[in-house]
Amino acid sequence: MTRFPATVAALSCLAASAAFAAGPSDAVAVNPPKAPYQKVGDLVALPDFLPGIGELFVDPATLPAGPFVAYDHDGRLVSTIYMIPISQMNADTSFDNLPAPGGDVDHVDIYYNAGHPGVEEPHEHIVLWHVPVAGEASVAK
């Protein structure tokens, strides 16, 4: 009689862990991610590896917001990034239901970017890190 509650408890733990510990979707789990993602360096004039970000991919149809997905030198998914133009941060514009394919988020950075090919106006980078803060070193340079 004690096995039943124990099994239920174990299954509950598994369910809970599945709910709170989601890995990345198959489409982006490894570098390169599957279509429609494309390497940003192939789409616009930017280096393949961006210091502080990593090797960046995006579905061009989702520009400018993204999601972009970034990988370190070992092909590990490190972050999902959204790029929101300052000009579109107003009462008449919203970005709803943006995909979040990267799985668990360890922490978030939000910072201003002056622009770059692909998003050629001032915008905010909203970075969902899938690695601990110390793991950011893997894309520092």
């Binding site: 004039a45 280096p47 210091p51 910072y111 970017n113 002056a114 770059h116 090919p117 050629e120």
Partner: protein, 192 residues
């Protein structure tokens, strides 16, 4: 974030002229001063090739040309180098031929554009027609990444500023006043 910053790079890049003074007022007053004293100086005017860096913070939050204003002689060459490891830049003259921008280069001068330069890449142009050349960075114009070159014969000071051309204020604020360029020879972004 694990992006490292040097102390200089953390702060905003500010124009090197008095921001509180009305810009047009400063132009006229400075122009009179320059005409009276005529003290062109700076290393650029004697250099065979004048170097301009395309630079930015590591996180891309600030970008700039350095020097952002420079005085040269007709026939001198200007070379831009992208020193920004995480971004692309261009040096593109204000002219209708370049993205239908207003013309802000001298009559008779040929518009130039480097197109996008990846980190480490360079572009150079030799400017033979005297006058004021305003230029911009394609992906960063709206962030005020613009520059100005004054090509002047010895003693020449009869330059007039261009009209505002409906450009955004952040762009207009990025052009160092002609008189200051004539007086100083080079204008660098002020880091604070």
């Amino acid at each position: 974030m694990n992006i490292s910053f040097c102390g200089m790079c953390r702060s905003p890049v500010k124009p090197a002229w008095p921001s509180r003074m009305k810009r047009r007022e400063f132009l006229w007053e400075g122009g009179g001063l320059a005409a009276a004293l005529w003290l062109p100086a700076g290393p650029a005017i004697s250099a065979p090739v004048v170097e301009v860096a395309m630079a930015g913070r590591a996180d891309g939050s600030r970008v700039w040309f350095d020097p952002m204003g420079v005085l040269i002689r007709p026939g001198q060459t200007v070379r831009w180098t992208n020193t920004d490891k995480g971004n692309s830049h261009s040096a593109t003259a204000y002219a209708p031929e370049n993205f239908d921008h207003p013309r802000r280069i001298p009559d008779g001068a040929k518009p130039f554009s480097s197109d996008y330069l990846l980190p480490g890449e360079t572009f150079e142009v030799t400017l033979t027609v005297a006058g004021v050349y305003d230029y911009f960075c394609i992906p960063h114009e709206l962030s005020g990444m613009v520059g100005r070159i004054v090509v002047a014969k010895p003693g020449q000071t009869d330059f007039r500023p261009y009209p505002d051309d409906d450009l955004d204020q952040v762009i207009l604020d990025g052009f160092p006043p002609i008189a200051v360029i004539l007086a100083k020879g080079e204008i660098h972004p002020e880091e604070q």
